[in-house]
């Protein structure tokens, strides 16, 4: 192996050792220890509590139902909007992925303002019918499933849509010419080809739902889930309980990952590489169907935008002007003035922006090390590793993304909460660096994935051509590889950056009071009933995220 590769390997392994391997092993080790001896006692004790078992069942049940609901909503919408053309289609299609970029905490807050028992809808109905009490309360299973479906259906919508675009139209035509009816074509030709997309969507939805924290915290009611249990156990200082539950949550998440991926492996099709034209969207000509489709498009578009619109509205509401009225009665810029000019309030922007930027840039730099090792080099360059090592490496990189944020935060906090063997006397917990470190770990897989995709698209002949023209390795990297992959890599970095900006799940476990991120500020404003300020924070966050996503989209186009 060349010296250069050895340096990259050392950097990669050090980060994985400190960030992934050690903290996770530490947590597992802690959960298996009591009074200095190895034992399963913690598990026996924790798993014998009915409240813990209930949390486990709730988490899994919530995730399963979330997957089903998201599929029921997302898949038909994908078929409707991908295969047919009608007025209103574009409006919805442009908004469809909106919930994906909405930070969960901000979404939760918006839902409370809109659908909560003192929210706009409930107030409106109460005032309209002069009811004594609010018509409903946004609590428990129904509330959680409603919110989860809103935020996670795009996984199914986007992936099914992409899958449909890849399906070769001539296959369906061939089936029709062989005498298959429309429903047979759907069942026996289309759906089997969509299976990989559907499984990927189910996996993402399941994992996101298992990791969900904001919604169970704010309107889960008596539905206790694992992430919440871990949080409260840590809050009351029951570290053994927290650590043991963390391991249980990690095991469920990884088991789901393995289960889905194994199934996915059995259903892979080479369809994407075959020749053939994608199917054109068919215009819906029939009057009634056309009207119906248009109505569906408009209704769903409104449903998508309403929470964000509500947030914007409330952000302009004067404090105290929104008590029993349907809509706030008095509007002002005071909330924005407050979050931007009060030193304590404005500070959180600087905090979040700097911590997320540090994490994202570190992830970008590090991903170059990892991807150089991961991507199969040009045919001629000797391979650095055997395939199995590369697979292990990419698995290790993916773990922090697959694990719920709660697990990552708890494991880092536990492993580096006191002087230890890896950091000497340095204690990470309680310093500025804990959150950038956690953000880095959580979101670097996104950057690695983006860069890896860009690198793999690169024609190996370009590097070879540069070599045959006399360019040395460094020249080839700076003059050929880098100019071609940076748009994709920066787009991935921006994505990691904006997700880190709105991060709440892990932040709430390890943040330092002197260095609060935006999400913590939103939660505390909400607790103090400063609804306008909470909303204003949310709106500013959404604006920053939107700008970043537009830039990322433009970069993606450069790459294409």
């Amino acid at each position: 192996m060349k010296k250069r590769s050895a340096v990259l390997l050392v950097i990669t392994l050090l980060v994985l050792l400190y960030g992934v391997i050690y903290p996770n092993l530490f947590v597992v080790g802690t959960s298996l220890q009591r009074d200095g001896g190895w034992t399963f006692a913690n598990y026996r004790e924790v798993l014998s509590q009915s409240i813990v078992l209930e949390a486990i069942l709730n988490s899994i049940g919530l995730s399963v139902f979330t997957v089903l609901l998201c599929a029921i909503i997302g898949v038909p919408l994908a078929f409707l909007f991908e295969r047919f053309d009608f007025p209103g289609r574009r409006v919805f299609a442009a908004l469809a992925a909106l919930p994906l970029v909405l930070p969960p905490l901000v979404g939760t807050v918006a839902f409370i303002f809109l659908y909560g028992e003192t929210g706009i809808l409930a107030h409106g109905i109460q005032n309209l019918f002069a009811l004594e009490t609010p018509p409903w309360s946004l609590q428990g299973w129904a509330a959680l499933l409603f919110f989860h479906t809103y935020t996670m259906y795009p996984f199914f919508y986007v992936l099914t849509g992409a899958g449909l675009r890849r399906v070769d139209a001539s296959l369906a035509e061939a089936a029709r010419s062989l005498g298959a009816s429309r429903s047979v074509v759907l069942r026996r030709v289309l759906l089997p080809q969509l299976t990989p997309s559907l499984i990927a969507a189910a996996l993402l939805t399941f994992m996101t739902s298992m990791a969900s924290f904001s919604a169970p915290l704010l309107f889960g009611g008596n539905v206790r889930v694992l992430t919440l249990e871990i949080f409260t156990a840590r809050q009351r200082g029951d570290l053994v309980m927290a650590v043991t539950e963390t391991v249980v949550l990690a095991i469920i998440s990884l088991a789901a990952l393995i289960f889905f991926q194994r199934y996915e492996g059995t259903r892979k099709f080479a369809a994407a590489t075959m020749k053939g034209a994608p199917r054109r969207r068919a215009a819906i000509a029939s009057g009634k169907t056309r009207v119906l489709a248009t109505i569906i498009a408009i209704v769903f578009a409104i449903l998508l935008v309403l929470p964000v619109a509500t947030l914007v509205l409330v952000s302009f509401a004067r404090e105290g002007s929104w008590t029993t009225q349907t809509l706030p009665s008095d509007y002002t810029f005071a909330n924005y003035v407050r979050v931007f000019s009060e030193p304590l309030a404005a500070e959180v922007f600087v905090n979040s922006l700097s911590m997320s930027a540090i994490a994202a840039v570190a992830a970008l730099l590090w991903s170059f090390c990892v991807v150089t090792l991961l991507v199969k080099p040009g045919r001629g360059r000797g391979r650095l590793f055997a395939k199995s090592w590369r697979r292990l490496l990419s698995l290790l990189v993916l773990i922090p993304w697959a694990l719920p944020g709660t697990v990552v935060a708890v494991s880092v906090a536990e492993a580096y909460g006191r002087p230890g063997s890896l950091l000497g006397s340095f204690v990470l917990v309680g310093t500025f660096w804990i959150l950038p470190a956690v953000y880095f770990l959580r979101f670097m897989p996104l950057v690695v994935r983006a860069l890896q995709a860009s690198m793999e698209q690169l024609d190996p002949a370009l590097d070879e051509a540069a070599g045959s023209l006399g360019a040395r390795a460094w020249q080839r990297f700076t003059r050929v590889t880098l100019p071609l992959v940076w748009p994709g890599a920066v787009a991935g970095t921006l994505l990691a950056f904006v997700i880190a900006l709105g991060e709440y799940v892990a932040s709430v476990l390890v943040f330092v009071p002197a260095n609060r991120p935006i999400s913590i500020a939103i939660a505390s404003e909400l607790r103090d009933f400063n609804l306008g300020a909470a909303a204003a924070y949310g709106v500013v966050l959404i604006v920053i995220i939107s700008i970043s996503m537009v830039v990322a989209g433009k970069l993606e186009k450069i790459r294409g």
């Binding site: 040009g378 045919r379 001629g380 000797g382 024609d459 002949a461 370009l462 070879e464 051509a465 540069a466 070599g467 045959s468 023209l469 006399g470 360019a471 040395r472 020249q475 003059r479 050929v480 100019p483 071609l484």
Partner: protein, 360 residues
């Protein structure tokens, strides 16, 4: 002394032997072809010459120096890739200047050499264009300009014309040959297209299944393939399975065909005598097979019956059944010939070739 010399070069990928024990010499100023069906190892051989692939065993010498382990960037060979591999983020000028920049050429030098390279490929003034604005043929020329701008010690081509359409291919082909000759360059050219190889190359090596089967001038390969695999690849040969008769001890070899039991004679060297009573293959090109209707009966003339006449423009193919031996003849004008007509087929004895390797 050859300019480039491969000695017993082998390369495997996993369990497949892509290149097996290949030895060849390329002379200074020669246009050398590597010809073979896809997957025969010709591209891998070229990539080993370029330094993009390392041989598992064997050596590569250039100007008498061992370059087997020299990385591509230090060989100074220009290479034209099948898909051109133009840098999409650089314009035409920067693409052509790439190798000069890597060599830290001065600005004046670079401008001059890029301009002259573009001139040579007939794209003067195209420097500012983006490469994706160019047509396939123009991209091709840029790729060639880029390779010759570094004044390569050896020019390597990996099927450079295969992405062009037919008429453009022939035009580019002759320009390419002319350019290489004018610059006095030595070239190694990989192709699966025999016509292209015949038209371009001074000498050609035919590779089949990772092995180098025969090296020679185009005409030699065409008329006298030494081996059944070569004869099959070079196409449209009549392959006749026959046994050498024990009675022949003169300079003429005497063979009996397995189908039709005809006796065929051909001149044969004693060193090439095949074992008795073992089937061997004889080959003859269809255009050398003569068909008469007037009952000629000289050496190697067989009685036959015309089975099929296929008109294909300039020539026609006539298929004849000579007592079970099926033969194909290429005739310019099938006048006076008709299906089911009796005829005489003549296989001129100096056109018949005995194939050496019978393994195919």
């Amino acid at each position: 002394m050859p300019l480039l010399s491969l000695k017993n070069v082998s390369r495997s990928f996993g369990s497949t032997r892509a290149v097996a024990d290949v030895s060849l010499d390329v002379e200074q100023g020669e246009f050398f072809g590597l010809l073979g069906p896809s997957g025969c190892g010709k591209t891998t051989t070229l990539r080993m010459i370029a330094g993009l692939e390392k041989p598992d065993s064997g050596t590569i010498q250039f100007q008498n120096a061992d370059i087997t382990n020299l990385p591509a960037e230090r060989r100074g060979f220009g290479m034209v890739f099948q898909n051109y591999a133009l840098f999409p983020h650089l314009n035409v000028f920067e693409n052509v200047a790439f190798g000069l920049r890597a060599r830290h050429a001065s600005k004046a030098e670079m401008t001059k050499r890029v301009a002259s390279a573009l001139e040579l490929v007939q794209l003067p003034g195209y420097g500012k264009r983006a490469v994706d604005e160019l047509s396939g043929g123009q991209q091709q020329r840029v790729a060639i300009a880029r390779a010759i701008a570094i004044q390569p010690a050896l020019l390597l081509f990996d099927e450079p014309l295969s992405n062009l359409d037919v008429s453009l291919r022939e035009e580019t082909r002759s320009e390419l040959r002319e350019l290489v000759t004018r610059l006095g360059l030595t070239a190694v050219y990989v192709t699966h297209d025999q016509e292209e190889a015949y038209a371009l190359c001074d000498r050609i090596s035919v590779m089949v299944g990772g092995r180098l089967m025969q090296t020679g001038e185009p005409r030699e390969l065409y008329e006298h393939p030494s081996d059944i695999a070569v004869a099959r690849f070079l196409g449209r040969n009549n392959l006749i399975e026959a046994m050498r008769l024990s009675s022949s001890n003169t300079n003429e070899g005497e063979f009996k065909t397995l189908e039709g039991s005809h006796t065929l004679r051909l001149p044969i060297k004693h060193s090439e005598l095949s074992p008795l009573n073992q089937p061997v293959f004889l080959a003859i090109r269809p255009e050398h097979v003569q068909i008469h209707t007037n009952g000629d009966s000289g050496t190697n003339s067989l009685r036959g019956n015309i089975r099929e006449i296929v008109f294909a423009g300039a020539t026609s193919t006539v298929r004849v059944d000579a007592d079970g031996l099926l033969l194909e003849a290429l005739v310019l004008q099938p006048d006076g010939l008709a299906v089911n007509q009796e005829c005489t087929v003549v296989l001129p004895h100096d056109r018949l070739t005995l194939l050496q390797n019978q393994s195919g």
